[in-house]
Subunit: 357 residues, 4 copies
């Protein structure tokens, strides 16, 4: 399975950081979906590199070309393939990193699995660059969801010790969500955002990096979506989310904080809001038994600090069979969190669209 | 898919809290595995109800009967089916809970999905009772792993505000793991365990409940196990873990805490320990790029406080279409965390065995 | 996957010829289907052994017990498990057949795959007995199809050189189909049926066996059901059909006979029959591009002569590493075709119900 | 699933007859396979159009470009994507065929499924052109098989009433197989081949078409490959084979002819050929219980006559809601059988490689 996800809408990612192109095949899309390419491109630009100080300097236009599955701007029911060319993949000498696995990267585990043939250039298939076609698929799925009145949006919940305001998990509405997620730096509280940028700048100057937390909400989803046990929303969202490099945790609703509450505090009591049934709190994040309750689905993911840092680190040399020092040069993000926001939105859209296909 | 997990070893769960029996089919097991039924039964007793003060009073012997797939105590390569009879399912009047969804339970979302035909008795298919066949499958998979020198073990990391000591994520060994996980109350620090039991007792007396965190480790797994992107160890462990009722979060290695570290702190530096390559720290929990590094795999899950509590709660009446009060009577666990420990071990064993099949 | 089939409705078979029980888990059934157990049992009796001269003498009541997924006679949305006890599995000395693989049976290939632990008793997992739970699942799926106005029925097309009349692939209707398939000996032309029975009797007296062809039709299915390429009706029906032991071929519509026609003869021309679009001929068997055309779906399968015969045969001895002679004793069908009719109907119903779930 | 096949090696096809490109993603290939591009291209030329009298006049070079998964000519373990540009897709007026479904084509059923948005141009996703990427995937899998000593080859068994000699299902060896399958017109008996060509020429002159039978063999596969019940070799080969347009039947070994034999004639008796166990006949086509016996795997498929013919045919007009006449112009094959030979070889290679991955 590895690079594929979904039951009814299957999303298959391909490519490596330095392959000729990267891309995605989306199989199972309904026919007749008019694709708004402007929206798709604008969504992809939220993730695209080279835009600002806290992003890698690698320049990629990230313009997807659709090879199949669409005619006259509309899906035809056949598998949609879109590719993105790798234009700024610099020829380089990879012998050093082939010999010295970078701490916190997949270099070592990939060699253990694939042997010497693993394409280490730029991280190969393990590169964050693979999230570009993922974002394309997410943007397509968002259009499917939009037709059903469902909106997905995420924001930077925290970077290092600096926190944004949380989503109002009971009352967040589609417009708020869109407004927040479309900001160039997706935070609710812009002053917190400014402090985060400063922290990123400082840590970049040290040759170091920061991580953070992203919070995502899905609103407009009615009760009864999902499956019990192993095919619930939590199961499938988490399986998808860990496909994004650097994610190390996920929690739904109150998540880990629910473990400090008593049942009487954590239980979300039902009430009638006019004719519709809602809950007063949303500690379960809109999901009970793997199935949506009709309340906003809310989850948070932990993004570890970018492993590529300028500081000298200890590692080993495969060839010399000894410990050694490594200094990573090249282009990398001091903090991947801002660019990971659309990636989280993308996987959320893919997973929810799959249930509703 | 819903109640099935696995690629090569497929585990299919069936049953409801009050159906005639519950059970599991395990398809894809190799032939020739001699099953140690004593070990399997003793593992299942860790989860079985009715044993102590912090468990439901429902009495079930939870003795699995193997219907197929085994001959003369050894797997034959055909699908293994094991069933567990429901013996203490009390006939009861379910009209009340059919009308008034219990806060924090799947009652409401299940009705939204399945309509009036959902079997609400004891929570039906959403009952924690469904983890009994899961533990059976886990116990079988543990025997597969044992042959490969891999050990899975978990402990109660915290209950409410009371914390156990954490696993030593760099140095934990198989024997420590077995010793801890086999304690009647699986904690490293027994004095913390005693305080937890008191807290559970107190909250039970209030008609309330507690949640907590379970930490699980897998040792003896060599580097290179797993798949990139969507079929990594984190993806599949999390998909499986959320199949256990009441789990609301999962994190690997340092997890959410990694977001407070800089890259230089969080990166696990490689070194030679004699001839084997290890990392000095294990903030990535033994997984990089979805693939094992050879260090212990360590993850923690958040277990919410049991939603079934004795205290009066607000909810709605479907029939009267108005808000109402609900008092839940019957048997339930004031804290599910201790009995969830073997469930977490079981899913961990199932997921890892599937990679190695 | 091995013993499982289906995408949305997953059917998992388990058991061996001589295991304690055999059975099936059906995951993905909608809630609210009222099961007509009388119909299900009567369908299962079409396959059950021990009824007449052309069937094995093994007596099994083949009464399925439902363990889960049904409450008050109605599906609840949770996985349905049904088991059938093996009551007439005779303890016997299997050392002979363990040493001497029976020609035409899976004994040799199963040992090659599973080694000495393969349960050879009665053919183990490769026994025709595994079609009993398959028929149960088929009977359940037939009830789903009935609600949608779809009828599945099959007949004995030929046994050896003796042929029944073929289905009228253009005009066959649901009632005809039901009438034919419910006959104790399912043929259109009863006089042909009598000749078949005589042929079976004769060959049985010789200690030999016969095969034949079964033709199956599915009527009432509207145009547009199926998927292109690898998930078409032909793909999935054939994958399912070869799960029944002794099937060695399948053809749709004119099948192999279409290779003797020109395009102008084989093409099914469209016309308006009042407001509905039909074809004048049905050489494509109701399927074009893997997708239903609205015409009856018609296919035929080849059933090889039962490999278990009384005549002495040549084979080898594993232990002596030499050629030897084998005489198979015990109970077996001189012709499996009549009892395979409901099995073909069952897999057809399972496959079509899966598309419509 | 639709356009995807495989468990461990997943092959995902995409494209339409007139989309910008067509292609394939192969996920799950091992790292370190050195691709012989010359062999791959030469295999693809066996299927490529425009080469001779019995092929469509559409000119396509069918040169695959590899976008990912390969570095320095060797697989890296990441998904391999290859695309083939559509260069000779002629802009045309498709309003006629949009209104008048072609008999024997998927036009009608595709509209029933996908509605007006189905891309009808050149048959869209249902075009035989989709077998070009399938052949690429097959050629890659053949290289995997070659390393394991397994050879796949097919020949034209018959076209219309004209028959080639059959494979010797007991003694066919890898070299014979290669020699036959590499002929420009793949027959054993070249004089039969000449007669077939004449028949094709004649029928083409009439504006009509022919079908035929292709026979395929797989040699060098040891006993014990495959899975029981639904994941056997017959199940998976047939599922794959029906993904090729125009296939209407498949049979293994003696297939339908086995129904005219008695068990004593059809059973393949085992014997020792020096130290290896073989069967004297191979009526079961190298497969028993879904699992290989070590004898050559042999199967035949029925290819219907090309539905696109020059002769006037009856059909309906969607817009006018009446019966009408249709004359199909444009480029098409009077007999698709010769070009289908490598397609059958390709799916056979894909299915067998998947078992051995």
């Amino acid at each position: 399975m590895s690079s594929q996800i979904g039951n009814k809408i299957k999303v298959q990612i391909f490519g490596q950081s330095h392959s000729k192109a990267i891309g995605v095949v989306i199989d199972g899309l309904p026919a007749g979906i008019r694709l708004d390419m402007e929206k798709i491109n604008s969504f992809m630009q939220k993730r695209a590199p080279g835009k600002n100080d806290y992003s890698t300097k690698r320049k990629e236009t990230d313009n997807p070309q659709i090879l199949s599955g669409v005619f006259d701007g509309t899906t035809v029911g056949a598998p949609l393939c879109a590719i993105i060319e790798n234009t700024d993949a610099r020829p380089a000498d990879y012998s050093k990193i082939k010999d010295m696995p970078r701490p916190g990267h997949a270099d070592f585990s990939a060699f253990a699995k694939f042997g010497e043939y693993h394409d280490i250039r730029g991280g190969g298939f393990f590169s964050g660059r693979m999230t570009a076609p993922l974002c394309f698929a997410g943007a397509v799925c968002m259009q499917l969801l939009e037709e059903k009145g469902i909106t997905v949006g995420a924001h930077i919940f925290s970077i290092g010790n600096e926190k944004d305001l949380p989503f109002d998990s009971v009352d967040i509405d589609a417009n708020d969500l869109k407004n927040i997620s479309q900001k160039p730096f997706a935070v609710i509280d812009d002053s917190a955002g400014e402090r985060m940028k400063i922290d990123i700048k400082n840590v970049a100057d040290e040759g170091d990096s920061l991580g953070g937390v992203i919070e995502c909400a899905i609103v407009g989803i009615s009760a009864g979506v999902g499956e019990p046990m192993f095919d619930g929303i939590e199961n499938n969202l988490s399986k998808a989310v860990f496909g994004i490099p650097a994610i190390k945790g996920i929690e739904f609703g109150a998540g880990f904080a629910s473990t400090f509450m008593k049942g009487s505090q954590n239980n979300d009591e039902f009430y009638f809001d006019k004719k519709s049934i809602k809950t007063k709190t949303n500690n379960n994040g809109g999901i009970l038994g793997g199935i949506s309750t009709g309340m906003p689905i809310v989850f948070r993911v932990a993004v570890k600090p970018t492993p590529s840092i300028g500081k000298e680190q200890n590692t080993i040399s495969f060839s010399k069979k000894c410990d050694t020092k490594l200094v990573i040069t090249g282009r990398h993000d001091p903090c991947i969190v801002p660019r990971a926001v659309p990636c989280i939105e993308a996987v959320a859209a893919i997973v929810i669209a799959d249930y509703l296909a």
